[in-house]
């Protein structure tokens, strides 16, 4: 929204105000109460995985999460997409939220780009891989090489398993 801060209800009287000195309490200028204000969050770059995108950066994202909001809030946005399609197909799509190209800086075609997490009707979460990730984390000695292997498999177009 281009604003430096926004108010939020509640929070005063919790330990958020202790650990976040950047959250400020002000007097509500239109009422008798005190109200919390929080600074704007506007990431330098955001990574978003979309269902579909066109080559201009228009895309369709999952509507049950806040990706469209993140895209609007970020200074730059990189979108990976399951499919690259024509603009017409995006504009007539019934599913998901439309994100305008004005918010997007780069589009990369990456089928299975969300795996092992789920991606709408394209694929569900791979619970076995997620569990083996959690199990690998139990051994700090070997976990970093597990993570590196994991990333290498994805980069080379393989599956996370």
């Amino acid at each position: 929204m281009g604003l430096p801060f926004l108010p939020v209800r509640g929070v005063i009287g919790t330990d958020y105000t202790v650990v976040r000195p950047d959250f400020k309490t002000i007097k509500n200028p239109y009422g008798a109460d005190e109200i919390l204000v929080v600074p704007a969050v506007s990431p330098d770059v955001s990574l978003i995985h979309a269902f579909k995108a066109d080559k201009f950066g228009n895309c369709i994202v999952n509507s049950s999460i806040d990706d469209a909001l993140l895209a609007r809030a970020s200074q730059k946005v990189i979108v990976s997409a399951e499919e690259i399609v024509d603009t017409e197909e995006l504009k007539t799509s019934q599913r998901g939220n439309f994100v305008s190209r004005i918010h997007v800086d780069a589009v990369v075609h990456m089928p299975r780009g969300a795996a092992p997490t789920s991606c709408g009707s394209y694929y569900s979460a791979d619970i076995e891989v997620l569990k083996s990730y959690q199990a690998a984390a139990k051994d700090p000695q070997t976990f970093s090489s597990y993570v590196k292997e994991f990333c290498l498999r994805l980069r080379d177009g393989g599956d996370a398993a």
Partner: protein, 247 residues
């Protein structure tokens, strides 16, 4: 003959019975028992109640992400919401952040997920716990994720309705600002509840009744249509939380 039921079924039933038809019930993350309760309320005596369950497909009518959900809460449009915490203290504060020192905690928990606003702005917040131990019910939480009692200068629409655990129901005494024992579930005693609570627990209005267990009708609904719905949202929970055949 009293049918066998699980603690989860009892807790969901106690919560569901509170709901008046038409009231709006909102459920957040990590909340299988409240999800079960909300759906049971809809399937039984509150068929006109709106139910919103974060993380579900069927109970999420919103158009874009979570903003509408949180804005509805902030506007005071939710009658019920549910919160939990690794710790709950004598004053009804909850801790979803850290056990021990905040910057280098003994245990790091997932975080508040909006509870610092929700606890204040939802008309009736029900705290639920899947265990009842001295470690969970403490004199003072290590970190106040959200609080039941706040100074009058802070705008607050609602707050704590009651606390439910596998042993008991607790309520806040508004004068003292402390939790008290309202009812004890069948199979448990006042002594047992007090032994497992890390602060002194008076009896609310001098008396603690026995919590009314689920009826055969409520259990049939729980193990039928409610379980089918819950399986889609919390499959692992649904496998173990519902009892078998009744009677």
């Amino acid at each position: 003959m009293t049918a066998y039921y699980t603690p989860e079924e009892l807790m969901a039933t106690v919560i569901a019975r509170q709901v008046k038809n038409g009231e709006t019930i909102a459920v957040g993350t990590f909340s299988p028992i409240p999800s079960t309760a909300a759906i049971l309320a809809r399937e039984s005596h509150a068929p006109d109640s709106d139910v919103y369950i974060m993380g579900s497909r069927d109970w999420w009518p919103f158009s874009e992400g979570s903003q509408e959900f949180f804005n509805m809460a902030q506007k005071g449009r939710f009658d019920y919401f549910f919160l939990s915490g690794a710790q709950i203290d004598r004053n009804g504060s909850i801790n979803l952040h850290t056990i021990g020192n905040y910057h280098q905690p003994k245990v790091r928990l997932p975080g508040g997920a909006g509870s610092s606003m929700l606890y204040y702005m939802v008309k009736k917040v029900i705290l639920f716990k899947t265990d009842h131990t001295v470690k969970s019910f403490v004199e003072k939480v290590d970190f106040v994720t959200s609080a039941a009692v706040t100074p009058p200068s802070v705008h607050r629409l609602g707050g704590l309705h009651f606390v439910i655990t596998p042993m008991a129901v607790l309520v806040l005494n508004k004068e003292t600002g402390s939790l008290e024992l309202f009812s004890v579930h069948p199979g448990h005693s006042v002594e047992e509840v007090r032994e497992n609570t890390g602060f002194e627990l008076p009896l609310f209005e001098g008396n603690a009744d026995e919590t009314k267990p689920p009826t055969a009708e409520e259990l049939a609904l729980l193990r039928g249509p409610v379980k089918d719905h819950v399986t889609k949202i919390y499959p692992a929970f649904a496998k173990k939380a519902f009892g078998g055949e009744i009677g």
